[in-house]
Symmetry: C2
Subunit: 452 residues, 2 copies
C-alpha cells in the first residue's frame, strides 16, 4: 500500500513532457532489446548494436530511415515486432499527446492555467481518457479496413495467403503510423503502376499525419445530427487547409523540378500519381513509389523544405508542423501589408501561439543548420544529400537518397536525436529544459532599436 | 515659379523609401553610363553591358562582387570613377539613411508617429542635416588619414608615387565604404604578410560597417566633458557588442574549420591575422588576404552564415544586420527560459522591434532559399558554392569562390537584386510594396491553436 502511494507520488510529480520523454526512452530500450533477440533476426544475421538502436529509434519515432534492409535482416517475428513498435510509437504517443495537448494547450491560456492545474484530476482526466479512446478507435478502424483490403488485394501479387496478409498488415501499419518502413526491400516501387495500392497508402498516410483533433472532429461531424450548425475548430481548419495546400503545391513542384528529367516521356496519370504520392509522403509518410535519388538536386532541396515543414501537430508525423508554418506565413504577409493582429478564418490568433510558432521555426532552423554542419564535416556526401537526410530525420519522414547505411556512427547518433526531437516536437523538447518557474524580472524601461 | 512648386510637390509626396529607391536607381544608371565610356576602360577592352551594369550595382551597393577583373579592364579614370561611386554608395545612402532612420525610426513609435509626420519639415530636418554632416565628416576624416598613411606606406611596394597614392586612395575608399573592390587584381593577398596594411584595412572596414549612430555617439563621447554621465544608446550597445562578438566567434570558427587544412603549419600570428581578417571581412568588407576558395566546404558554409548576418544597421554594410540577429537570439533564449519581455542592457526591447527583427529574418531566409533554388537550377556549381555567392551578395560582402564571372545572365540579375535588397535593407524593400494605410480590420474573437 505504501509502495503504491510512493509510486503514485513519484509519477504525480513528473511534468507531462517528462512523462513523454520517459515513455519514449523506455520504448526505445525495450524495442532495441526485442529487435536484438536472435528470434527477431534472420538466420546468419547478427546486426551491430548501433544499427539495432537506430532501427528502434526510427520505429519509435515512426521515421523509417534505416541503416539496414528490413527485408534482408529481420525474421517474420522481427517484422511483427517492428510493426508493433511503430503502432506504439504512433498511437501510444498520440495517446499521451492527447493528454499533453489538453494540459499544456490549455495551461498556457492565461486564466485557464490555474484552473486546470488544480482541477486536472477530475473532469479533464475523464475527457482525456475519452479522447484517447476515440483516437485509438479511429486508428484501429482504419487499420482493420486497410489490412483486410490490402491483404486480400495482395493475394494476386504474393505466392501465398500468409505472405499476402503479412504484407497487408505491415504495409497498413507502416502507412497509417507514418512509419515508412518496408518489407518489400524497395518501398512501394513494386507498386508503381498500381494506383489502387498507392491510393490506399496515401489515404492511410493522411489519416495518420493530419492530426488526431482533426480526425475526432470529422468523426463528430459525421455522427452529428445538426450538420449545418457544426463548427470546426480553428486548429482543424488551419491544419487541414495547410496540409492539403502543401500536398498540392508539393505535387506541382515535384513535377516541375523533374518534368524534363525523371518525368519526361511518362503518361499524364503516371506523372500525376508519382508527383502526388511523393508529395504526400514528404508530409511524413516516408514510403516512396520511385527511387528519389534519381530526381534532380533541385527536387531534393524542394522536398527537403516540404519535409522540414512536416505534418500536422498532434499527429503521427514530425517537422515544425503545418500550423507553425501557416502562422509564420500569415504573420509575415500581415506585417508586410501593414496590418495588426493575425487573422485566420475569422478568428484572431493568440499572440502566444504566434510567439510559439516563431520560436519553433527558429529553433528548427538552428538545429537543422547545426546538424548539416556536423554531417558535412564528418561525411563525404554532397551538401544536398546531407540536407535531404537531415530534414528527412527531423520531419520523421524517412525518405533517403540511400546514404543512411554508409554514415559514420556520430552521424547516426545525430539522426537519432533529430528523429527523436522531430517526433516529440521542438516545444516539448525545449520545455524539458525550461525553468520550472520563470524568475521574477525587474521591469526595465523600453527603448527603441534599429532593425534591418 | 510654378514649375518649381510642382517639382517640390512631387518630391514632397514621395515616401522616404521611394526616395531611397530613386536615389539608388539613378546612381546605378549614371554609374553604368560612366563606366561604359571608352575613357573608363583600358585600351582594347569593350565590356559587355551586363558586366558593366553588374559592376555598377555592385559598386553602388558597396558589395564588391565582380564579373570582371577591375585591374585588367578599367583605366585610371575608370578606377577613380569606381571609387567615387563606392563613396556615393556608402556615404550618400548613409546620408539618406540618416533621414530615413530618423523619420521612420521615430515614425513607428506610436505617438511620435503623427507628431513628426506633421512636423517633419522643421526642427527634425535641422537635426537630420546636422547628423548627416557629422557622418560625412567622420567618413572623410578617416578616409583622409587612411589615404595619407596607406599611400605613403605603399611607396615601398609600388614603382612610383602616383601608383602608390592611387592604390592608397582606392584601397582606403574600398575598405571604409565596405566596397570590397580591388585594383591589385588579387584583393589583399599581396599583403598577406603585412600586418600594418591588414590592421589599417580592418579598422577602416569596421568604421564603415559598425553603423553611423555608433560613430556619432563615440564622437560625442570623446568630445563630451562629463564622460562619467555619458549614456550610450541601446542601439549602440547592442550593435557594437554583437558586432565584436561576431568577429571573435567568426575568427575562432574560421580557424577551427581549417586548422587541419589551410592553416596547418603556419605560425600563430599568421593564423591569427588570417582568421581575424577573414572574420572582419565577412561582416561586410569583402576584401580578403587569402584565396577563400581554398578553405574547406564547412568553412564556406560557416562564412555564409556570418555574411548572412552582415553588418550593423545604418552602416555601409548589408545582411539581416547585427541587431536583428541579436534580438532573435535573445528572444529565443528568453522564451525557452520561460521569461516574458526581451531585456538587453537593462532596457526592455519594444515589441514592434522584435516583430520587425523576426520579419526581417524570415524574409531573408525566404529570399535566400528562393535565390539558391534558381541558381542551383541554372548553374552547374556545387550547392555550397552557390550558397556562398548568394549570401555574399545579400550581405553585400563581395567575397567569392571565383564563380561570379562564369554565371549565366539570369543568375547575375538575381545577384544584382540581392545586392540591392541587401543594401537598402529588407524592411525598406518591403515597405515599398506596403499598403499606404493599413485597412481597418474587423476584430475577430481569439482562438488558440496547436503549435509544434
Ligand atoms: K515516416
Ligand atoms: K562589400
Amino acid at each position: 500500500m505504501k509502495l503504491y502511494n510512493r509510486k503514485k507520488n513519484w509519477l504525480h510529480q513528473l511534468k507531462p513532457v517528462q512523462m513523454l520523454f520517459i515513455f519514449y526512452f523506455a520504448l526505445v530500450i525495450i524495442s532495441t532489446m526485442l529487435l536484438s533477440l536472435p528470434i527477431s533476426q534472420q538466420e546468419g544475421v547478427d546486426l551491430p548494436f548501433i544499427d539495432v538502436l537506430f532501427t528502434a529509434v526510427s520505429a519509435v519515432s515512426v521515421t523509417g530511415l534505416s541503416t539496414i534492409s528490413i527485408a534482408d535482416s529481420l525474421s517474420t517475428a522481427g517484422i511483427i515486432i517492428l510493426a508493433v513498435i511503430m503502432q506504439f510509437g504512433a498511437v501510444g504517443v498520440m495517446a499521451i499527446g492527447t493528454m499533453i495537448w489538453l494540459i499544456l494547450g490549455k495551461k498556457i491560456g492565461l486564466k485557464e492555467r490555474r484552473l486546470i492545474m488544480t482541477d486536472q484530476n477530475q473532469s479533464s482526466i475523464e475527457g482525456i481518457v475519452r479522447l484517447t479512446k476515440q483516437v485509438v478507435f479511429i486508428f484501429l478502424f482504419f487499420e482493420l479496413i486497410g489490412f483486410l483490403l490490402l491483404g486480400t488485394y495482395f493475394l494476386q501479387y504474393f505466392p501465398n495467403a500468409k505472405e499476402a496478409y503479412l504484407q497487408g498488415f505491415f504495409g497498413t501499419v507502416s502507412a497509417i503510423s507514418n512509419g515508412g518502413f518496408d518489407i518489400t526491400g524497395n518501398s512501394l516501387i513494386f507498386f508503381q503502376k498500381d494506383y489502387f495500392v498507392q491510393s490506399a497508402n496515401m489515404l492511410l498516410i493522411i489519416v495518420g499525419a493530419i492530426g488526431f483533433p482533426v480526425l475526432i472532429e470529422v468523426k463528430e461531424y459525421i455522427v452529428s445530427k445538426k450538420k449545418r450548425k457544426f463548427r470546426f475548430s480553428l486548429l482543424t481548419k488551419v491544419t487541414s487547409t495547410t496540409y492539403f495546400l502543401l500536398i498540392a503545391i508539393g505535387a506541382l513542384g515535384i513535377y516541375l523540378f523533374d518534368f524534363r528529367n525523371y518525368f519526361a516521356g511518362l503518361t499524364w496519370h503516371e506523372n500525376l500519381f508519382y508527383a502526388l504520392f511523393q508529395s504526400v509522403t514528404t508530409r511524413s509518410g516516408g514510403l516512396a513509389t520511385l527511387d528519389v535519388s534519381q530526381l534532380t538536386e533541385e527536387n531534393h532541396l524542394f522536398m527537403s523544405i516540404l519535409m522540414f515543414i512536416g505534418a500536422s501537430p498532434s499527429s503521427a508525423g514530425g517537422g515544425i508542423r503545418t500550423t507553425t508554418f501557416a502562422l509564420v506565413v500569415i504573420f509575415m504577409i500581415t506585417y508586410i501589408r501593414g496590418g495588426k493582429g493575425i487573422h485566420v478564418f475569422r478568428r484572431e490568433v493568440h499572440e502566444e501561439d504566434l510567439v510559439k510558432a516563431v520560436t519553433v521555426t527558429f529553433m528548427a532552423i538552428l538545429i537543422f543548420v547545426a546538424s548539416v554542419f556536423v554531417l558535412s564535416i564528418v561525411e563525404d556526401f554532397s551538401l544536398s544529400q546531407i540536407i535531404f537526410e537531415v530534414t528527412s530525420a527531423f520531419g520523421t519522414v524517412g525518405l533517403s537518397l540511400g546514404i543512411t547505411a554508409e554514415l559514420h556512427t556520430i552521424s547516426k547518433i545525430i539522426l537519432m536525436m533529430l528523429m527523436f526531437i522531430g517526433r516529440i516536437g521542438i516545444l516539448t523538447f525545449l520545455f524539458m529544459f525550461a525553468a520550472k518557474k520563470p524568475k521574477e524580472r525587474i521591469r526595465y524601461p523600453k527603448e527603441r532599436i534599429s532593425i534591418g
